[in-house]
């Protein structure tokens, strides 16, 4: 087989692997629908505003209630100012 066709085959393999991964992701998404339902319900019942993926600074956890004074309020070493707080660990 000529090289260019072999290269196209390689690309086709890449694309099908990619499609496989996309399929796997969609499957995982579908499988998590029960968990998502619970998350949605938790948000509703508890009145949450955000994900809790970042708890380093308070107003990152609940963006809805952030204000300009929240930096430096609790932890003197914490550089609680976006985005600094996300990149540096507060001094202990």
């Amino acid at each position: 087989m000529r090289l260019s066709l072999r290269f196209l085959l390689f690309l086709a393999v890449c694309i099908s692997a990619q499609l496989g991964l996309i399929g796997a992701a969609n499957q995982r998404l579908a499988a998590s629908s029960e968990a998502e339902r619970r998350i949605v319900r938790s948000i509703e019942i508890l009145g949450l505003s955000d994900f809790c993926i970042a708890t380093d600074a308070r107003y990152v956890r609940h963006l809805a209630v952030s204000d300009r004074l929240s930096p430096f309020m609790d932890h003197p070493g914490s550089i609680e100012h976006f985005p600094t707080g996300s990149f540096w660990i507060p001094e202990r």
Binding site: Q18, I45, L46, G47, D50, F51, C52, T55, D56, V60
Partner: protein
């Protein structure tokens, strides 16, 4: 004619590939570095897209309107009578008073979110949230029931213990019994939560009996949210009214900012690669120059030589895009995007096990394409005009 054109392209592509094979070590290094750059950029954009999409899907039950009282530019508590002032506004379905706040655990530097919920004193409260309730427990001392998130449990190092204590503002201790724990599958929103009875939360934060921290307002007609928010602002003095749309916007901005920052860092890597590619493309070795001259003298047109360069670039950049993008998906799907979590999620003490499910978006792919493959093509094909113009008589 068209068939002949395709054959010509395939022939030149074959030649480019045989050149790739001849200099395989060098080319593999180039593809590897290029794929690494694409891997980083793609991981980044996949992480942000997947977060944004999750936010879009999951944050739709965020309260329509959150009302907070402001004093001297900072948030203060308000009293329960505010509920009565709002309830008769037409279009409001419900007003829920809430006590909640942050608890900063100085022992390990973690921030917890404490929420007082009126229903926690009932039997089997909060159904449908996937909470594992533990059997009731009696202590000699006074202790409140609390439902805690997994992260809190780990951070407090509870192990098999069920009791823990938190400090009131006056540094006296308040004891709690773990009545239940949130399941792992809701960690994305519940990891840092400590849910307790409304009155217990007031006690913990040192609030007066009728004080609340904010009001959650549900509106019957979503189109009316902004109007009602305006009305609430008029009815209550000195409050801040936060609508769901604003939360979503802030959220997008924050992660847009983070990913932008990350991309700005990665831009350096991309620029370095572009310079490298440019250098490689312009600095032809004498052997390569001779090759071009020979090709031209045996009848290759300037455009054939440029086509050759084009194919060489396509081979490298398409391989790199294929491998890098594939790698980014595997990074997210099988390794939870471990490399870029810190930048996007922050250096939190509590690290919720967020499983980022990547989402395919053609827009993202186009952005990656135009940030990686296009500059590479430009950096290599444009100087090829120059090198393809080598005079054929230079070999004679």
């Amino acid at each position: 004619m068209a068939l002949r054109y395709i054959d010509r392209q395939l022939n030149i592509a074959d030649y480019a590939l045989s050149g790739f094979k001849r200099r395989v070590a060098r080319n593999v290094v180039v593809v590897f570095i290029f794929a690494l750059v694409i891997f980083m950029v793609a991981s980044f954009s996949l992480t942000t897209t997947s977060l944004k999409q999750a936010a879009g899907r999951l944050l739709e039950t965020v309260p329509d309107i959150t009302v907070q009282k402001m004093s001297a530019g900072r948030q203060v508590s308000l009293t329960e009578d505010a509920v009565d002032k709002l309830e008769n506004i037409f279009g409001i379905r419900s007003v829920r008073p809430r006590v909640w706040g942050y608890y900063f655990d100085e022992n390990n530097g973690a921030n917890y979110t404490v929420i007082g919920h009126p229903k926690l004193s009932e039997k089997s409260p909060l159904p449908g949230l996937g909470i594992d309730y533990l059997p009731e427990m009696q202590l000699d001392t006074v202790a409140e029931n609390a439902v805690i998130g997994r992260g809190v449990r780990q951070s407090l190092e509870l192990g098999s213990r069920r009791t823990f204590s938190l400090f009131r503002p006056d540094l006296t201790l308040k004891s709690f019994i773990t009545a239940g724990a949130f399941g792992a599958d809701t960690s994305m929103v519940t990891d840092d939560l400590i849910i307790m009875d409304l009155q217990a939360a007031r006690d913990l934060f040192g609030l007066a009996p009728a004080e609340i921290t904010d009001l959650l307002v549900d509106v019957a007609n979503p189109l009316e949210i902004d109007n009602i928010a305006d009305k609430i602002g008029e009815r209550l003095q000195g409050v801040r009214v936060v609508t769901r749309e604003r939360i979503a916007k802030t959220y997008r901005v924050a992660f847009g900012w983070r990913s932008g920052f990350g991309l700005a860092c990665l831009f350096g890597a991309m620029a370095a690669f572009a310079i490298f590619a440019w250098d490689k493309a312009t600095g032809l070795t004498p052997a390569q120059q001779r090759e071009v001259a020979i090709l031209k003298v045996v009848g290759w047109q300037t455009e054939d030589v440029i086509t050759l360069r084009f194919w060489e670039s396509i081979i490298i950049s398409a391989s790199a895009l294929g491998l890098g993008y594939l790698g980014a998906w595997m990074h997210l799907l099988f390794f939870d995007g471990v490399l870029f979590r810190p930048v996007l999620l922050g250096w939190s003490v509590l690290k919720p096990p967020v499983s980022l499910i990547p989402v395919f978006s053609i827009g993202d792919l186009l952005i990656i394409f135009s940030l990686s493959v296009l500059p590479y093509l430009a950096a290599t094909v444009i100087p090829a005009w120059h090198s393809a113009a080598i005079r054929p008589d230079s070999v004679i």
